[in-house]
């Protein structure tokens, strides 16, 4: 029962993610490459969710033994953690740039720059 719920959950998430990516692509907020990246990534996730045995098949075809889903999920978690770290760093940098830009604008357009102290 739990496995079925997990499969449905993965499928629904994939549909939502691909739909959102498509909407962004149509609105020219996302490039074709990025849209295709998300489509294939999510399709891959859905295929693994629906047919978990495919992981052993793929690993076997590369000459590896049975790694088991646990190993794959563990690697996935590490990869996701790495992605979260990268996003954390990038968001921090973007926030810093935004802060600097907004502050400079406030100082440039503020009363002191426009009118100066003598007019007070």
């Amino acid at each position: 029962m739990f496995v079925l719920v997990a499969k449905v959950f993965s499928f629904v998430l994939a549909v939502i993610a691909i739909s959102k990516s498509y909407v962004d692509f149509r609105a020219r907020l996302e490039s074709l490459q990025i849209f295709l990246f998300w489509v294939f990534t999510w399709l891959g996730i859905v295929v693994v969710a629906l047919f978990p045995s495919i992981v052993d098949y793929i690993l076997g075809s590369f000459g590896g033994g049975r790694a088991g889903l646990g190993t794959v999920f563990g690697m996935g978690l590490v990869f996701l953690y790495f992605l979260a770290y990268r996003l954390y760093i990038k968001i921090g940098r973007v926030e810093q740039k935004l802060t600097k830009t907004v502050q400079e604008l406030a100082l440039r357009e503020g009363d002191i720059a426009k009118k100066g102290i003598k007019n007070r």
Partner: protein, 228 residues
């Protein structure tokens, strides 16, 4: 004549900002007093209300946080040639008449920073807020190695030298703790003096979102981890 600048970060304070500004003295010990309001992306007309009340106004087109607004205010105060810079909240929590007490303590010195501590008397401060401030004092000590009476006070007076000497990067409420760290790092001479926290129906209604406290604690925790 020397200049004292009062830096007031404000967001959505249109109903009260004029009253806050009207109670700021125009002169303290031969210093003319100039008010600078930094409207931090307000949805209302905080900027207009402050300008009509005679303050210099700088406007953040997006909400950055009280820390970023304060550092913008510091830069503006330095542009005005201020010798003394006082920070205070725009929600009426601080009594503007106590600006003179902070400034005079700084002038009589020798201090670089005077911190208005709400915890030295804590009259009228809700017990939960008092306890939360003690926790934040302890966290500030863990992160920055300095214990002060009220690490989260936004009511402080600085000399020009102190403002130019501090390296401030925090955009949010954690700037108060960062200032404590800079006081310690730069070996500034400082003094904490008691100030009254004014809790009005307005400030109670506006409150301090619980999420702000959580963000503050998380921010301090991240800094603690980064420092190892």
């Amino acid at each position: 004549m020397q200049t004292l600048a009062v830096v007031i970060p404000a967001r959505n304070e249109e109903p009260i900002i004029a009253a806050v500004l009207s109670n700021i003295p125009s002169e303290i010990r031969s210093h003319r007093v100039l008010s600078i309001v930094i409207d931090d992306g307000s949805d209302d007309d905080t900027a207009g209300a402050a300008r009509r009340a005679g303050a210099f106004v700088l406007r953040h087109i997006a909400n950055l946080g009280v820390g970023a607004a304060t550092t913008t205010g510091f830069r503006a105060a330095l542009q005005l040639g201020a010798d003394i810079i006082v920070t205070m909240d725009g929600d009426g929590q601080h009594d503007p008449r106590e600006i003179a007490t902070l400034a005079e303590t700084l002038i009589d010195g020798p201090f670089d920073v005077v911190i208005g501590s709400r915890l030295m008397t804590h009259d009228g401060m809700p017990p939960v807020r008092f306890a939360a401030n003690l926790v934040l004092n302890a966290l500030t000590f863990l992160v920055y190695g300095k214990i002060v009476s009220d690490s989260q006070s936004g009511f402080k007076a600085f000399t020009r030298r102190a403002v130019t000497g501090m390296e401030l990067n925090c955009a949010g409420y954690d700037i108060c703790s960062e200032m404590v760290g800079e006081i310690y790092r730069r070996k500034f001479r400082y003094k904490s003096i008691p100030v009254r926290a004014v809790y009005t129906p307005y400030s109670h209604a506006k409150g301090q979102p619980f999420l702000n406290g959580v963000n503050l604690i998380l921010g301090l925790f991240v800094r603690l981890v980064r420092r190892g």
